[in-house]
Symmetry: none
Subunit: 217 residues, 4 copies
DNA sequence: TATGAATGAGAGTTCATTCAT
DNA sequence: AATGAATGAACTCTCATTCAT
């Protein structure tokens, strides 16, 4: 083993260790942010949750705000998720599954998701950064599919661009909504029923009588 | 004019002045909260925005938090708005108008609405207070209408209770969603188109081919 | 009645009214000070207790501190009380009664007395003002009596000046001590017994076997 | 030196440093409290007197009040001092010395003593905490000694319980009295004379002609 | 003269950040 | 790299005092 390799190795080992530590801090911070909100969370709490000293945070992030930004920018955006799901989105069945997957997405229960919803909602800059400007592409892809569907007849005759925008708005709102409109304690079964119903309405609204029957449990 | 009247008058005049001042403070606070969030807003800023001294805030509200609570509790809840709209909701046309009105509701652009969305979203206690527990009644009323619609044939054969819950979730999410998914600057016309499309999808999803044609502009 | 008389009358009438108001304020303030201490008391509380508006206080006193000073300077100092009791203090029986009266003085239960103890204790300037510099005269009078008593034989042979100082210190300490050393709840009878015992000790300590037997109840 | 020792050492070193800092703060605070009273003292002044930043106070104490409580609870209570002095208190000579020591106790000139007197005097809760409830035991011990003394003849025939209570009241009052009754500036010699005289009076009052002659200087 | 809303300096306290160890 | 005590600016809130009515 050459010196150079040695150096490279230790370098990458250090890099990995740093990455691991950062990850720990971000997880800890996300959980603290999720429960009290960014502003009410203290660096002391974050450090305690990450099991390191307060000052050590600053070896990995340059400020408390930087931690929040890191959480948000490293988290998969729902927009990006939808975007990924539009790859190879061409035929009727895939379209159905696209809508289903979007709405079935688990309620925002992971700490980072709650953090994003709480904080990005209140901060235009963060929100913009989080949504990452991929909305346009998502819209155009979906519009393209809708156009095909209309032409092929498995979608009602709808304006592709406008409908795409409307569908995305409905999906996003539904996905990120904290679902607190419903009775404080909703059974998981009730939740699934409700979501299935929303899927049904949306698909029927888009497809008309070509819409698949909602599956029975 | 008797002394009694005089006293009464000056009393109510004072009351009115107090009410006016409170209103000014709430407006100022809502606008500050809306732009920076509750936690990041300072009493100094609120006072400056209301054009009074910092200490004077406390002649009208007992704490910063109290100001937030006042904003929220004095603001019309969308749940209550929907609930009011369900009065006399029986036939097909009224149902259509109910959905339309809900979705056409102006985007949350007034300061107090942004404040509510930002803060109540992140605070279970506030949210509960704001939503006021009228969800159950709203659901049952809507389920009743849906049942009638299904029986009368102007709605597809849907489960009334589950569908009511799903519709409310969709409406609420759409109503309160900050609409920031769309390009930062969306023309009002584009917005209207998008909302109309959402209405169309929802109504068609619920009613099938009985759905009214979306109006052309 | 001449105009002049008229003017004089209304003038003195106003003066009397002012005096009455000041008295009310002082009483109210003393009671508030007594229960929370000067610093923790607010002008709002004082005004409420005196049943006038906050701002009106300043028509009668120039500051909160001024109210405290007025309370203290208008209150009879225990030093002055003792001093008054030394008038015509010549013979043995009067000396006995002097000691008895000093020690039997009711525990400091009136608001102004508690106020003085609390505040003057903590404030050299106030204390000095309160004690009014009559200590020296009190000492010299008492020393004179003690000298006579020693000469006449109804006092043990004691140094008049030193003994006078010591007796005054003992009396003052005992008079102003909040008596909280004793069990939180002491029956009035127990208190009287204790005070009588202190009188007995002091008198016997000064007079030897000429001391009067403590009265039996 | 093993790692373990090393760790232990640095641990105790830190502990010692913390203790030292706390001590510094308490001294500084006591001196500020002594001169202006607790309520009028500001954390800024305390910090300045302790030569640290204002915020640093809160690394050692959780509030301004906590500093006061620490001062008071770490200070030797005169009650406890007297109590300690009653150990092995049986014969005449020890009794004489007990009284002497109590009254000779240095006037309350240390800052913490002035603080205690000022604040505990005005605050029932603090007072109770400070006096520690050992009064009852002190009384009963003293009553026992007095009973023996009366039986043995070196005390006048006095009721043990009542006399014990009276003596304690006299001692406590004298010990804690700020001695400000006397001329503003009293020479130390004059003070000693006065105290000696008080001792003489008290002892003679209790013992009659068995009382020791006051020592001459 | 009486009022009480308005004021703003200043209180105690918190906490993100720094830095000597 | 890790620590956590030290920092001090900035926070919310209080309250003696003023002054227009």
């Amino acid at each position: 083993m050459t010196d150079d390799q040695n150096h490279q190795d230790s370098f990458s080992r250090r890099e990995r260790r740093v990455g691991r530590r950062q990850e720990e801090i971000l997880q800890a911070a996300a959980s603290v942010f999720a429960s009290k909100g960014y502003a009410a969370a203290t660096t002391r709490e974050i450090a305690a949750a990450a099991d390191i000293a307060e000052g050590s945070l600053y070896n990995y992030f340059s400020s408390k705000r930087d931690i929040l930004v890191a959480i948000i920018s490293r988290s998969p955006s729902p927009v990006d998720r939808l975007l990924a799901d539009t790859e190879h989105l061409t035929d009727r069945d895939q379209f159905v599954r696209f809508i289903e997957q979007a709405l079935m997405a688990p309620a925002p229960e992971q700490p980072w998701m709650r953090t994003i919803i709480k904080e990005a909602w209140a901060d235009d800059e963060l929100f913009r950064q989080y949504q990452a400007g991929h909305i346009e592409e998502l819209t155009s892809r979906l519009a393209h599919v809708i156009g095909s569907g209309v032409k092929a007849g498995w979608l009602r005759p709808l304006d592709p661009n406008v409908t795409a925008a409307a569908v995305i708005a409905l999906l996003m709102a539904f996905m990120m909504h904290p679902m607190r409109v419903c009775p404080a304690v909703e059974t998981p079964e009730a939740r699934i029923q409700r979501v299935r119903s929303a899927i049904d309405i949306l698909l029927y609204g888009l497809m008309g009588n070509q819409s698949p029957e909602p599956e029975k449990e």
